[in-house]
Symmetry: C2
């Protein structure tokens, strides 16, 4: 079975069959706002941190898989309901195509000569996913239909969003502002941020309560409002806040129409968070929100954002290009491997279709490793990330295994004691200096975890990285293996036999004798007691 192919000219992967063996996804955004999006439009969005600032709700392990968060339906006058990306309606299409590009995805479906294309991207420097929908009547008669665009909001913290229902089902709040539905749960109590869904076209109906839109006993495939061609104009009050707009559209033969949707996130000044112009303490301050919509909320502005994004990637990729008779080699080296490295850097494995974004933040080791693949593209970002990572290191050279990107604080959720983590800082510092020649970086000051030793330099940090190996050795004087160390699944010293514990937890301390027996051990033995840094530097090729 063929599911798709590469389009090298446009730097896109083209999926032509919606029922892929597993959702095939792309990652949008590269700074604050991130979206995962599958070939049928599934996935979710978050701001910086998939745990603490989940914008839309996604059901891992859902049946069926990959449903929720986003939804688009076309309801024909005759009653047929279909989705341009096949899901959620699952009505067979005459044409289906998904193009995953560099930072954008375009899904196109056609049924009975009505073509609908949706472009998804995150404009550079903006905290929003924009969706440009284009309808084209390729038939010979007038076409009347209702189009629904839908998102389901998450209540910010992805973990409690899936656990604490005695609270969650009581707290949801939204505000309607023209063609914008604002999600403001906990804004009154202790949050200064909002998410929202906006349509550039004045809607003919809306819903913001999930049950009103979907129906208590229905799935998104059979959602009640699209099925009936109506809207409930519901205002969510607890339960599950969503945003759904209905647009009733009439298209002459050959005519086209475009709508821009914006799924955005804004933070307000805590001292100026309310809209006081109408004398009400209950309406949120919408200045920043409207400004964001103003910058990105029209079809033309989405086109400009895409154009800018493509230029950006052309420039990034131009820094390293190979020519080779084997075109598949060029494809991988010149486009996809570099893109993959950048995506991996952006998310450091904190969120994917297999990583729920709850159990971990950005990996200390992962970040340091990923950086090796993109430092040539944007060394200034690499530098910033090295400083963030180093600031979560402990004074003894150890470190958290991961940290939360929103707070830049280490996350002890799965503990520390991963012996190799800190060593990778040596590798990333080395890579940065080799790329930039900026030896002075070694003198940059960055404190240890908890702002300890504010005068410590990057060089101090990598020295400590190395000495922590020397300080933790086994019976043969070789470096101890720590938790899930050197190899993600090697828990020789830390396996817990208590099934109520996490699998990756320190055991009772017995068996702390497993040692690392590969290349590094030779260096560690040689430099015991003398100029260890020299050999560490050699090891990672700095000198």
């Amino acid at each position: 079975m063929t599911y798709g192919h590469f389009d090298d000219k446009n730097r896109e992967y083209v999926i032509t069959e919606p029922k892929t063996p597993w959702p095939w996804i792309n990652y949008l955004g590269d700074d604050g706002f991130f979206s995962l999006i599958s070939n049928t439009g599934g996935g979710y969005s978050f701001y910086k941190d998939a745990l603490y600032r989940r914008i839309t709700r996604y059901r891992y392990n859902g049946v069926p898989v990959d449903e929720g968060s986003r939804g688009f339906w076309i309801r024909e006058t005759g009653g047929t309901v279909w989705s341009p990306g096949w899901k959620p309606a699952k009505t067979p299409l005459d044409f289906y195509e998904c193009r995953h590009g560099l930072g954008y995805t375009r899904i196109r479906g056609e049924k009975d000569k009505l073509e609908t294309s949706i472009l998804f991207t995150v404009p550079r420097g903006e905290n929003a996913e924009v969706q440009k929908v284009t309808f084209t009547n390729n038939g010979t008669s007038e076409r009347k239909f209702s189009f629904y665009g839908y998102v389901e909001f998450a209540l910010w913290n992805a973990q409690t969003d899936g656990e604490n229902f005695q609270r969650n089902l009581n707290t949801g709040e939204v505000e309607l502002d023209g063609s914008t539905i604002i999600h403001k749960t906990e804004y009154r109590e202790r949050r200064n941020h909002l998410s929202f869904y906006h349509s550039s076209r004045n809607p003919d109906g809306f819903d913001s309560d999930r049950e009103s839109f979907v129906g208590f006993y229905e799935t998104l495939a059979t959602a009640e409002k699209p099925a009936s061609g109506t809207s409930g104009d519901s205002i969510a009050d607890g339960w599950s806040p969503v945003a759904a707009f209905r647009h009733d559209i009439v298209l002459a033969p050959g005519a086209s129409e475009e709508i821009a949707f914006v799924l955005g996130y804004v933070e307000n000044d805590p001292d100026n968070k309310w809209d006081l112009t109408e004398g009400s303490q209950k309406l949120v301050n919408k200045e920043a929100l409207r400004a964001l919509i103003g910058r990105v909320g029209t079809p033309g502005k989405i086109d400009s954002a895409l154009s800018e994004l493509k230029t950006y990637w052309t420039d990034l990729l131009s820094r390293y290009q190979v020519s080779h008779p084997e075109k598949k080699l060029e494809r991988m080296v010149n486009i996809w491997n570099q893109y993959q490295c950048m995506v991996t850097y952006n998310l450091a494995r904190s969120a994917s279709y297999f990583e729920s974004g709850i159990g971990r933040g950005l990996g200390f080791r992962d970040t340091s490793q990923d950086l090796l693949g993109f430092v040539h593209q944007i060394p200034e970002k690499a530098k910033e990330r090295i400083l963030d990572v180093a600031a979560t290191q402990f004074p003894d050279g150890g470190c958290y295994h991961q940290y939360q990107p929103l707070t830049k604080k280490g996350n002890a959720g799965i503990g520390g004691n991963f012996r190799d983590d800190p060593l990778w800082l040596i590798a990333s510092v080395s890579a940065y200096i080799r790329e930039t020649g900026e030896w002075g970086f070694l003198d940059t000051k960055v404190p240890f975890d908890g702002d300890v030793e504010p005068d410590a330099t990057i060089f101090t940090h990598i020295q400590r990285s190395f000495t922590q190996v020397l300080d933790n050795r086994g019976p043969h004087g070789l470096p101890l293996i720590g938790r899930a160390d050197w190899n993600d699944c090697l828990n020789l010293n830390t396996f817990s036999s208590d099934p109520n514990d996490s699998f990756q937890i320190a055991g009772d301390g017995e068996g702390r004798i497993a040692e690392f027996l590969e290349m590094l051990t030779q260096y560690a033995k040689d430099c015991d007691g003398e100029g260890g840094m020299h050999d560490t530097a050699m090891l990672f090729g700095l000198l």
Copy 2:
């Protein structure tokens, strides 16, 4: 709209419309094995602890609500698929009825003269939910159909089951043993317990891999195997283990047939956990499992278990009965209030359709309060629970807000500092003594948390409960309000303004001046420095 009515004679609530406004549920089991079951057969099971020993998987906040865990389908020769409890198939029925009784639920559906009744209960003293299915052909012609019974297994820990997919999707393991599908994930590594689903009838097909049974893009309503009348005979290897049996049945006019299904849980001796008879280390020891099936796994044995359960409840309720001209008063006092108190005691709000069973165990305060309502029925269980609860109290009189029923350890998940929790121990001890007259209970030894002060008596515990109030007073000498104290939503001293924290977490220490201003303060003031216990005892009516 009428959804149902009481049947006082049978002590049942009868639901006659499957589309209730929200799932209407019952609780089965009263000791080790518990099941939540809705009027359409939704819900899930666990052993003792909804967090640590989740037997079947349930999706809170699913769309649609209340789907998964259990499933039953009848697939007619002509292709029609329906469910006796309406869900998951949602095919309209000619007759539907759910009867929630005391510790059992019976769901009955009929379509085109084929009647199917399913009785669900947990036999007393057994770690299993049994399901007796009865088919009756009320028509005048022979009836051929395939019947499917299905459960989806949870990977034991309900929290990681919904979070850690990079692990979960790789670890699932099952074993097929005749008409039993055994779920044995992590048994090889560090578990000595198994769950299983068994059919008393030799199946005509089975599945143990969810995707094979349901299909990747389908819901349970449209599950592929029931839709096609086939089975995949799949053996789960990672991904999502389930158990589904297919029975091809032919019923003459007027004929009936019965099948017993058993969803069970067994713990094996760690030193004898493998079946060595065939020389294989890979097969689990099935002695205990088969013995359990032997005790409960036939239709006749399920009938006996139900009969025994009914006798048990008749006896329990007989201890307190009122006669009154208002029959609704009798109904509530003589049946449902007592049943509700027992259920609340059993679960202490640790698992419901709004409490996911993840964020908390049994409440210290809840348990002590709930006990007041059932101590007259089973004082010996009340005594056991008081000792469990007291053993999680701190030497200073404070306590965890909750504890895990499996480990009987306090759970610091949402912290302590609930000032009123320990006081409720005085109330429960008082209630126990008033019911039994067993003054000697005050001298029973029970340690504080962590086995501290093993010679401490129950009297010592309630003394400390009281003095911890005296030791934590505000500017006016009145008892401080703690966390979510005296009133579940009053967080005057502990509200966190950091949205990344739990809502119920200690703040920065400012504002620790809110005091409890009601009745108790009078007593606290009066007895400051003198015989506090006397007044505390008075307060709760012990003397």
